[in-house]
Every structure is written in structure tokens, then in C-alpha cells.
């Protein structure tokens, strides 16, 4: 059944979280993601859930840690400066093998930066979301509908792998309104959490949620185990991407999130001019679709990466392309959204070289 409504990306994310059984939200105000906290404050009580404005992002992520440890589906959101504060908690959550969903509705940085859309937290999200040998799954939706779908996916992946999952959007996707059909969401029941710390009722030994291993042998074993049975399987099974006309392309434009929509227009402009242009969009930024990009590099002539930052994904594309083909970059930063013409011109320029 269709349940079509017109909504902001931030609101669609919140509603999708509730629809898939999340009943706990902890946040702290920051633009451009305030709609999430406001939506949750209004909707959670109606849904029999609980939403709390914490005293800081640090407190919020630790409330998430507690709620997750206690067995709940739990969600928090912020924007760039607030995400930096959450990194400590995210590392503990990863080290304690707890599931949760974190949204970063990115704005320009560094520092207080600005409040306009950006993608300048790519490195942080994919490489450095906390101290230690750890990773997150990072999803990069590009429409309000997909934000809703990725929210459900994020909760499922978090529970399946007992890992934090990040939904990486930006101020544009968060704030823009588009139709979204909640009827299309596939809702799965969360798995039973026999590991949760919620009182043993004298029926089992105590459950301990912990990330401390003072003996280096034990810590190494725990990390190796996490890579073997979690991250490596995620790499194998959870890579997602979208592409068209990449085979034999003269140029493949690689972009994600909001930029992928702009890049699509640019690709079609290039095609109109007779250029064999292709489109590639990582849907999961972590795990990164390196394998597929490597295959494309066999036949495509070159790549142009476009992002709202100074080229943070470019190195990943270069590594994936194995230095077989040139990888160029064009982007805007600081909160400025690139236009299709700019990407078209950047592509035309490198093709002339």
C-alpha cells in the first residue's frame, strides 16, 4: 500500500526509524539536523517511545550506548561539529560490539565552519570515526525516499552485525522536501538480543558489555575476531553502488549523496555532446565499492570524482582504479553546491588534455 507524503529528508529519516521499531532517540540541537530532534520529540511519545535532548553530543552518544547495551533499537543524529564529539562514544560502541544508528547531516567545516551542505566529513566517516582499529558501515543516500529506505537498512545492518551504522547526508538532503512512500519500506523484526545487559533475572550468568582487554593478547584476539567475522563479511556482502554506461566510457563521473544527482545531469549533458560518459555512485561509502571500480578501470579511460569537499574520496577511487587510469577531481567546499555545468566543464577540460 502506498503511503506517499511530502517530507524533508530529516523528517523522513525520523519517521522511517520509528516505522522500523526504533523507540529511543537521544540528540542535541545543531543545524542543519534540528528537524530530526524536533520530529522525534513530537512523534516518539505518540509511538510509545522516548526522545531526550541530552546535555551534549557526548552524553547523547553514551545514552545510545546504554540503550543499545540494554537491547533497544536506538538512534542519534547530529551535524559535523557534533559528530566530532560523538567519536569517543562511537569507538566504545564499536569496541563493545553494540548496534546503533547515527546520522551525520553534514555542514561545512573545519571548526564551526558553516551551516550549508557539505561532504567534508567523508574521511572522518569512512576512516576515523573513533580511535582504535574499528570501522562503521556508512550509507550515503541521495533522495528523501532513499533516506527512508537507508534508515531501515541501517537498523537492520546494525543489528545483524552488531555494529554502529552511519547515515551520511548533508544539509541539502536533510532540508529538501520530496515525496516519500513509506509503504515501500521493508520492515524486518530485530533479532533477539540475548547478549543485552537488561537484568539476568537469575536465569543466566551476567551479561557484560565491555571494550577493555588489558592483556594485549586478548585485545589483539578480539580485534582479529571482529575483522574476521564482521568487517570482512561486511566487505564481502554489503557493498552497494549504482552505475550506468561505465563500460568503455571515455570518462566515469564518481560521486555520492546529493552530488550524484547533479553529476547525473552532467553525465547526460556530456552524452548530448557525444561524449561516452558513465556514472558511478558508491551507495555504501564503507564498505567502499573498490572491487567494481577496479573492474571499470579495465575498460573506462578515466575517472572524475566530484564531491562537496577538497577531494576526500579521490584517493579511494585511485586505489580502486589501481593507478591504471587517471583520476581527476572537481568539487566545491565550504557549503557551496556544485552545478551540473561546473562538473560538465571540469569533465570537458580533462578530456581535452
Amino acid at each position: 500500500m502506498s503511503e506517499m507524503v511530502l517530507m524533508k529528508g530529516n523528517e523522513a529519516m525520523s519517521e522511517a526509524a520509528i516505522k522500523c521499531g526504533c523507540r529511543y532517540y537521544f540528540g542535541y540541537p545543531i543545524t542543519p539536523q534540528n528537524e530530526i530532534a524536533e520530529y522525534m520529540a513530537a512523534r516518539m511519545p505518540q509511538a510509545g517511545g522516548f526522545s531526550l535532548q541530552a546535555e551534549s553530543e557526548i552524553a547523547a552518544i553514551n545514552m545510545v550506548l546504554g540503550a543499545s547495551a540494554a537491547g533497544a533499537r536506538v538512534f542519534t543524529s547530529s551535524s559535523s561539529p557534533g559528530i566530532s564529539l560523538k567519536t569517543e562514544g562511537i569507538s566504545y560502541i564499536a569496541g563493545s560490539d553494540l548496534p546503533c544508528v547515527i546520522a551525520n547531516v553534514q555542514r561545512g567545516g573545519p571548526g564551526l565552519g558553516g551551516i550549508q551542505p557539505a561532504q567534508s566529513d567523508y574521511h572522518q566517516a569512512t576512516k576515523a570515526m573513533g580511535h582504535g582499529d574499528m570501522r562503521l558501515i556508512v550509507l550515503a543516500p541521495n533522495s528523501v525516499q532513499e533516506i527512508a529506505e537507508h534508515t531501515v537498512l541501517a537498523f537492520d545492518l546494525a543489528d545483524l552485525y552488531r555494529t554502529p551504522v552511519m547515515i551520511l547526508t548533508d544539509g541539502a538532503l536533510g532540508q529538501m522536501m520530496e515525496p516519500v512512500d513509506f509503504g515501500k519500506l521493508k520492515i524486518n523484526k530485530p533479532p533477539e538480543k540475548t547478549w543485552a545487559a537488561a537484568g539476568h533475572s537469575d536465569k543466566r550468568p551476567p551479561n557484560i558489555i565491555n571494550s577493555l582487554y588489558l592483556d594485549p593478547k586478548d585485545l589483539e584476539a578480539a580485534v582479529l575476531e571482529r575483522y574476521k567475522n564482521k568487517y570482512n563479511i561486511i566487505d564481502e556482502k554489503e557493498v552497494r553502488y549504482e552505475e550506468f554506461d561505465t563500460e568503455d566510457a571515455d570518462i566515469v563521473i564518481v560521486s555520492y549523496g546529493i552530488v550524484s544527482r547533479i553529476a547525473k545531469v552532467a553525465v547526460n549533458m556530456l552524452k548530448d555532446k557525444g561524449v561516452k560518459a558513465g556514472y558511478f555512485r558508491p551507495v555504501t561509502l564503507s564498505p567502499f565499492p573498490s572491487g567494481r571500480l577496479g573492474e571499470i578501470a579495465e575498460t573506462a579511460k578515466r575517472f572524475l570524482v566530484s564531491e562537496l569537499n577538497m577531494g576526500q574520496m579521490t584517493d579511494d577511487v585511485r586505489l580502486a582504479a589501481g593507478c591504471k587510469k587517471p583520476v581527476d577531481f572537481f568539487g566545491r567546499t565550504g557549503g557551496i553546491i556544485t552545478t551540473p555545468e561546473e562538473i560538465y566543464n571540469a569533465a570537458a577540460k580533462v578530456l581535452e588534455e
Partner: protein, 255 residues
């Protein structure tokens, strides 16, 4: 007849604490209270970062190890998901009153129905004897080698006094682990705090003045004497807040 046995709420694990350290005694008090109130099966404990980080190995209930200072936020998450569970944190002075001050104050302000067991030993034990927010004026620590000076490091924080100004706090009592009489009183306070939590009266905290013979550079006996002559005059034991009695601070000075 067994007159002295291990509380069921403690595991068989041997404590790793230094000899003469009161952490173990306070663990036992908490465990006895969990036994007496018969709430072990529905209790979730939050271990801090500090000497008592391994509390998760000692308490025989579900346990979560928290990031340094964040235990009250972690406890908030657990309690909001399971309001019928008993949730306690066990924290040192660095954990609670330095890095975790915001989490402590706001959990108290919200009136979170949790019990905080706060071990004030005026020093950072685990990291080797650095200055704590509760370190005494003039006290020599590894990071205040000339003694804590008001003009440099400021003066100590009195946690119970500070928190008792908040309406969300149902119970705040400072006790001392320096002698048998006071240890008995400490247990009573801990029991009352848990009872208030179960009755959903609000935030409860028991501050336990404790020792760190190792980093104070004292024998266990000397360390208890040092507590009496130095800590207890500065940190008077007594009930600072009891929502039932609507008490104004009534402080027994045991100096």
C-alpha cells in the same frame, strides 16, 4: 549457622585492589544491598574508568563498562529502556567530578532514577596518583608536586553540596569508609538510595570518602587516619538531600 558469607551479588573473582584499599569494602556493601533488596536479577551496573573499571567482573549482575566519566549518561540510556530495572553507576572522583561533571550534573538535574556510588579518594588511583578535582588544598600528588594551590588548580569540588541544590536529586548523602561505624552507616545510605530508586523518587547519590594508600604513600592504617584528619573536616559526612524529609542540609561534622 553462617554468620559471614560472600554476598550472592559478588562473583568469586578475587579483587585486584591494593591491600587496604576501600574499593573492595564498598563493592561488598553494594552487593549486600542488592542481596537484601533481592534485586540482583533486575540490576544493571555501570563500571567507570578508574581503579574500579573491573567492577564488571565482580558484581554478579549484568554490567556495562562505560567511557571515562560517561557512566550517568550510559545509565540514563539503560534506565529509559528498562524503567523497572535497578541501575547503578560506581565512579571515582576523576570520573564523576572532572571529565564526567556534565553527565553527572545533568543526570541529577533530570532526576534520572539511578543510584550513583561515588568513591571520593581525593586522587586518581588508576593512572598513578595524579591530582583529582577533590584533591585537598596543599595535597601533594604526582601532578601537584608542590601541593595543590588554590590560585593554580582551584579548590576542591564538594559534590554532594553541589548536587543537593538540584531539584531532580532525591537523595544525597556523604559517608565515610574510615571505620566500622561509618561503614555501617554507608551501607544504610546505599540501601536507602536503592530503595528510593526503586520507588522512582529521582536521582540518588552516595558519596563515599575512601582511601588510596598506594598513591597517598601511606600504610592502610595511616591512610584511614589521614582521611579522618584531612578529608572528613573538608567533606563533612551527612545527609545533604532527602526528598522525603524535605531536608535542608543537615551535616554531622565528624572531624
Amino acid at each position: 549457622m553462617v554468620v559471614f558469607d560472600r554476598p550472592k551479588s559478588l562473583t568469586d573473582r578475587e579483587f585486584h585492589y591494593c591491600s587496604g584499599c576501600m574499593h573492595g569494602v564498598v563493592h561488598r556493601l553494594v552487593a549486600e544491598v542488592l542481596d537484601e533488596l533481592e534485586i540482583r536479577g533486575k540490576t544493571v551496573g555501570i563500571a567507570p574508568v578508574g581503579c574500579s573499571v573491573f567492577a564488571y567482573n565482580y558484581f554478579n549482575c549484568d554490567m556495562i563498562q562505560s567511557p571515562h566519566g560517561r557512566a550517568p549518561a550510559v545509565a540514563t540510556g539503560v534506565k529509559r529502556v528498562h524503567p523497572e530495572n535497578a541501575v547503578f553507576t560506581y565512579q571515582g572522583d576523576g570520573d564523576l567530578a572532572a571529565i564526567g561533571t556534565a553527565e553527572t550534573v545533568h543526570a541529577a538535574a533530570r532526576g534520572e532514577n539511578i543510584t550513583v556510588i561515588f568513591i571520593n579518594n581525593a586522587i586518581y588511583g588508576m593512572t598513578g596518583g595524579q591530582m583529582a578535582p577533590t584533591t585537598m588544598p596543599g595535597q601533594v600528588t604526582s601532578t601537584s608536586p608542590y601541593g595543590r594551590k588554590a590560585e593554580i588548580q582551584g579548590l576542591p569540588i564538594r559534590v554532594c553540596e553541589m548536587l543537593s541544590t538540584l531539584d531532580g536529586v532525591a537523595y544525597a548523602e556523604r559517608v565515610s569508609a574510615d571505620c566500622v561505624k561509618n561503614i555501617r552507616a554507608a551501607k544504610k545510605a546505599i540501601k536507602k538510595a536503592f530503595e528510593y530508586q526503586i520507588a522512582k523518587k529521582g536521582f540518588t547519590i552516595v558519596e563515599v570518602l575512601s582511601n588510596c594508600p598506594t598513591n597517598w604513600g601511606k600504610s592502610p592504617v595511616e591512610s584511614l587516619e589521614w582521611m579522618r584528619t584531612n578529608l572528613m573536616p573538608y567533606y563533612p559526612i551527612g545527609v545533604y538531600k532527602d526528598i522525603e524529609l524535605n531536608k535542608k542540609p543537615e551535616v554531622e561534622n565528624n572531624a
